[in-house]
Every structure is written in C-alpha cells, then in structure tokens.
C-alpha cells in the first residue's frame, strides 16, 4: 500500500519585521490510508501550524514553508491555485477547535454546507441542501430539517461541532484534519463527539490527523501518536506502546504530569521550566534545558532519529539508556 500522506522535513517560519518565529522545524512523517494519527503537544508546539501547512492555509506573505508535502501522490507545495482549491474541502478537509468562530455567522449552516457541496460536486444549491440534510442525519443532529436553517449562534456547542463535522465530511474526504475539535466542548459532549468521529472514520475509511494536547483524547481515538515539542516531532509510535512505554523524556514527563488518579498526599511529577521561546531556540535538542537526562552533548545539535522498536522513532541521545525515571 502506498502512503496517503508523506511529509518530509517540513519547516514553517513566520517572518515579521521584528522577529522570525520558527513555528515548525523539520517535521517528517508518513501516513497510510485509513490510519488515525494524533499530533500531541502543548500550545505553541507547532501542531496546528503543521495542520494548516498541509492545506497551505497559512498567510502566504508572512509565512515561509519549506520541505515537501505529498498527499495522495500530489505535491501540495507545487500545486497551482485551482488544483489546491479542488483539493481543499474535497479530498482533504478540516475541522476547527471553535465551531462558533469557524462558521460564517450571517449565513445559515445548511447554506454553508450546500455551498461547498454545490462547488465541488457541481450540483445545484437545492441538491446541496438535500445533501446537507443527509449529512445532519449522519452526524446525528436531531430535527435536522429545522437545524439546516439555523444560524451558528442558534446552535449549542455540541451541535455546532457536529455541523462542522458534517461540513468537513460533505465531499467524503480521503484525509480529515481535526484541529483540537473537542477541546472547547463539555466533558459529556466531548466523549459523544469522539465516539462519533471514530465511528465515521471507520465507516468511511478515511485517514484522520487529530491534533490534541490531551493524552486521554489521543488514547481514545489514535492508532498512532506523534509527540511534538518546539516545532519538532520528538517521538512517534503506535498509541499503545507509546503510552505504556514512552521513550523520549518529554513524552515520559508529559504522561507523568497529567493528573489522573495519582495519590493525593504526594506531589505531582512535573517537567520543570517552560517551553522555549520560538524566536530563540536552543542550539541542540530543544528539550535539553528542561530535561533531567541532558548533558553537554545534547546542546551540540538536534539528535538524529533512532528507532528503538518497530514502528517507533525517537529523537533523543539517551534512548538506548534504560527506562527514563522522571524526577
């Protein structure tokens, strides 16, 4: 089987007069059709920027994208505008964190979906609305007919996100990019949306890249996890192995510091310090300043990727060392 997504050495710089922010520095990964990959990382780690770079949605004047992106065999960075537009919303689509701001506030949700369907399928607006109705049933929006004419602000948070998913699935994409789609939702609604997405992914057989900062969400939905730190993928692997046996000190620290039924009378384990300033990255491994295992050799350069087990890639000089014990 050929990979659906191949990203190689992707870098994104945001250039302003005052600074040059290196949001993504050399991200590489491949994805098979039908696979669900979670990009896991904290705010500012470059996961959302990577998503947007995949669809070339970053402001062209202020951002410089280098490296290569191939989706379904096509070179995304070399596409002309017309080809790019045919890809967007059609074979590749996207869901956003805040469905309130992701919909046009003055157009009804039904019309917004119909517009996209009509555009890509070349059908009438009426047929587009019919398709929107079917999609609303697919994502289990109750009283779908009535909700088609609702404006975004008239829907509850959970229904808005379901409508957003309906919009993203309207042209049966091969690849769905989901940028923290459940972060803004309440706990009881988040699990509903996660289960819905998992079911739809299996039924439609599409690939999903799911961006999140929440390990629990990753555990619920991912086949594979890529952990990002300071604009780099520091570790990838199958979700089970990675959560049970994290290799990179950052992944281990993140797992340890996530509050989940730890004993109450003990301090939580923490990663000291704060993520680096993306304008002034450390010379070597960007995690070295916070890492309990770091030594002088870590400042020499970015550690090369090593593979301690099949399907796993880690960028750390200490991976051959025994199990990382976190302070």
């Amino acid at each position: 089987m050929t990979p659906l997504v191949e990203v190689e050495n992707l870098s994104v710089n945001f250039v302003t007069r005052e600074s040059d922010v290196r949001a993504v520095n050399g991200v590489s990964f491949t994805m098979m059709p039908g696979e669900v990959m979670c990009m896991l990382g904290e705010s500012g780690s470059g996961k959302s920027v990577t998503m947007r770079a995949l669809m070339r949605l970053l402001p062209p004047k202020r951002s410089v994208i280098t490296g290569s992106i191939r989706i379904a065999g096509q070179d995304v960075l070399a596409m002309n505008d017309a080809t790019l537009r045919r890809m967007r919303g059609n074979s590749v689509s996207m869901i956003f964190q805040e469905p309130m701001t992701a919909f046009d506030p003055v157009v009804s949700v039904g019309d917004q979906i119909a517009e996209v369907v009509a555009l890509h399928r070349g059908v009438s607006h009426r047929a587009g609305r019919q398709r929107a109705l079917d999609l609303f049933d697919l994502v289990r929006i109750p009283s779908a007919q009535r909700r088609l004419d609702a404006y975004p602000h008239e829907l509850s948070g959970g229904l808005r996100q379901r409508a957003m998913i309906a919009l993203a699935l309207s042209c049966e994409p091969k690849l769905l990019l989901a940028d923290e789609p459940t972060t803004a939702l309440d706990a009881t609604v988040q699990i509903q949306v996660l289960i819905l997405l998992r079911r739809l992914q299996q039924e439609m057989g599409m690939s999903v890249i799911f961006v999140t900062h929440d390990l629990g969400v990753a555990a619920e939905i991912a086949d594979r996890v890529a952990v990002m730190y300071a604009g780099r993928v520091v570790e990838t692997g199958p979700v089970r192995d990675l959560l049970r046996n994290p290799q990179h000190p950052y992944t281990a620290g993140l797992l340890a510091s996530t509050v989940h039924d730890q004993p109450r009378d003990q301090d939580l384990k923490t990663i000291p310090g704060a993520p680096p300033d993306m304008r002034r990255l450390p010379p070597g491994c960007s995690f070295a300043p916070r890492c309990p295992l770091a030594g002088a050799d870590c400042d020499a350069g970015m550690p090369p990727p090593v593979s301690p087990a099949p399907g796993r890639i880690v960028r750390c000089l200490r991976v051959s060392a025994p199990q990382v014990e976190f302070a």
């Binding site: 923490t270 000291p272 002034r280 300043p289 309990p292 770091a294």
Partner: protein, 304 residues
C-alpha cells in the same frame, strides 16, 4: 523556602540565560515611544504639526507685518509681491503671511479648547456612567443620545446661531457638540475594562472603590479617550473655521482662517492663489492632526 519551585532545571542551564536576554523592559509608554520612533510618516506629520503650533505661538515675533495694517494701494497682491509680502496681500491690503501666522493662534484655540473641555466633561461623565452602570448610566447615556441625535455641524450651527455668534459662543457650541461622542467613547472603554478580571481582582482585595478606579480603570481608559480626542481636534478646527466662515464664529477684523476664507471668496476671480491659502493652512493642520492621531492609535495598540 520549601514552596519555591525552581524555574531552571539544572544550574547553569540556558533557561536563565534566555530570560536575561529578553528585550529591555520599557514599560507601556516606553513601548509606545519606541514604536513611534520607527514610524516615519507619523514623525513627519508630527513635526509639521509642531511647526504649525510653534508658528502660532510665536507669531508676534515671526510675523513680518502688523496683521491689521490695511492699505488701499496694495490690495490682493500676488505672492512674492515686492519681495517683502511673501504670500501676497488680502482684499484690504493686509499681509497674508502675518495674518496666517496670527490666525493660527485663533483657529487652533477655537479647535483645541472645546475638545479639551469636552474631554474633561464628556470623558468624566463617560467613566462615571461606565463604572457605575445601572440608573446612573441610563440617565447619562440617554441625555447623551439626545445630543447625539443631531448632526454635529447642525448642532454647532444651531447653538452658536441661536446664541448670536462670536468666538466665545462658538467655543461653547463646539464643546457641547463634542461632549456626547467623548462620553460614549469613555463609557464604552470603561465598561469594557470594568468587566475584565483584573478589575474584579482589585475589587476582591476589598480596596476602596476610588483606588480601584484610579489605579486600574483610569489608566486603561485614558488611552482610547485621548486617541479619540486627538482625532476630534481636526474636526474642531474644521468646524470652528466653518462657523467663522458662516459668520458665526470669530468677528472681523480678527485674522481667523475660516473668516479669511469667507472674506477672500469675493476675490476668487482676481487672485485665486491668495484665496486658497487659508484653506491650505486648515488642511495642513487637520491632516497632520489626523495622521498623528492614527499613528498614536496604532502605536498604542498593545496587541500588535
């Protein structure tokens, strides 16, 4: 010290170094000044504005002639006349340059004083309305709405027209015109700031209201109000000249720019260039004022 959590993982780690290397701390106004220094357009117009204001202040020393000295023989002479009347003479033979310099004093005063007074009154009312909320807010804002329901030129003309014109009445009229918009801007800014958590946090200390207002609200409201007021100065100058142009402002023979424009209108067929001059003076002043105000606005925008 048991509670302190170290910010650096290991001694001598680069974390500490990057924190020390942060840009110099300038504070808010320092930052505004820093940004303004790199904004050549605003600096240029700011310089021009300063020049105009200085010229107005020092007009008695700068003006080559008495601005009231009439002469029948040298009426409406073109610029450069006899090498001494650089900008020519007006319909009564008075030196244009001297009159424009002196006129700056009157016109600028007519434009700036009402804005200043209106900022104090309207801004104050707005802050009170915004912070107090409830009935006080309703009373102040409803009265404001009534005055807002007049087009500004019309209100200025109506009040000064009914009061019988004159520079003083003109300024009163303009002050009344400017109070409602300033009140609105101050009210909006105050009620926005009032709802921010840091004001709640300050109230939650149990500190007296006046201290919360003074330290946490005013400082954050002042910026938007001052920016707006500075943009009103240009409107003030145009409106004040307009009133004089209609015969409702400054009375002859005072050398006000608007009044000069009106008087010279009769002479457009004879000496069009001279006729255009007072207008150019008004235009240069108001455009520099607007540009400086815009520059300030973007320099004071914390987000960018």
């Amino acid at each position: 010290m048991s509670t302190a959590v170290s910010d650096a993982a290991r001694p001598g780690a680069p974390t500490g170094a990057t924190e020390l290397a942060l840009p110099k701390q300038r504070g808010y106004w320092g930052n505004v000044g820093y940004r303004l220094r790199y904004d050549p357009v605003t600096l240029c117009f700011g310089g021009l504005l300063l020049l105009i204001i200085l010229a107005a202040i020092f007009s008695p020393w700068l003006a080559p002639f008495d601005p009231y000295q009439e002469s029948i023989i040298r009426r409406l002479k073109p610029p450069g006349f006899q090498g001494r009347y650089w900008l020519g003479t007006d319909e009564l033979g008075r030196d244009m340059l001297s009159r424009l310099l002196y006129g700056g004093r009157i016109t600028l005063t007519m434009g700036i004083v009402p804005v200043f007074i209106a900022t104090l009154i309207g801004g104050g009312l707005g802050v009170v309305a915004g912070f107090a909320g409830g009935v006080v807010n309703m009373i102040i804002m409803r009265v404001t709405d009534v005055f807002y329901a007049f087009p500004s030129v019309l209100l200025a003309v109506a009040i000064s027209g009914a009061m019988g014109g004159g520079a003083g009445n003109g300024m009163i009229a303009l002050t009344l015109v400017f109070i409602p918009p300033l009140c609105r801007v101050a009210e909006t800014a105050t009620s926005q700031v009032r709802n921010l958590d840091f004001v709640d946090a300050a109230r939650a200390t149990g500190a007296p209201l006046r201290l919360v207002l003074w330290h946490h609200v005013l400082g954050n409201v002042l910026g938007p109000v001052l920016i707006y007021a500075s943009s009103l100065v240009s409107v003030g100058i145009i409106l004040a000249s307009g009133l004089s142009f209609l015969g409702l402002g400054v009375k002859p023979p005072e050398p006000d720019w608007g009044l000069m424009l009106n008087a010279l209108r009769q002479a457009i067929y004879v000496s069009p260039l001279v006729c255009a001059m007072p207008g150019i003076a008004i235009l240069l002043t108001s455009i520099s004022m607007n540009m400086v105000s815009d520059g300030l606005r973007s320099a004071m925008d914390v987000r960018s």
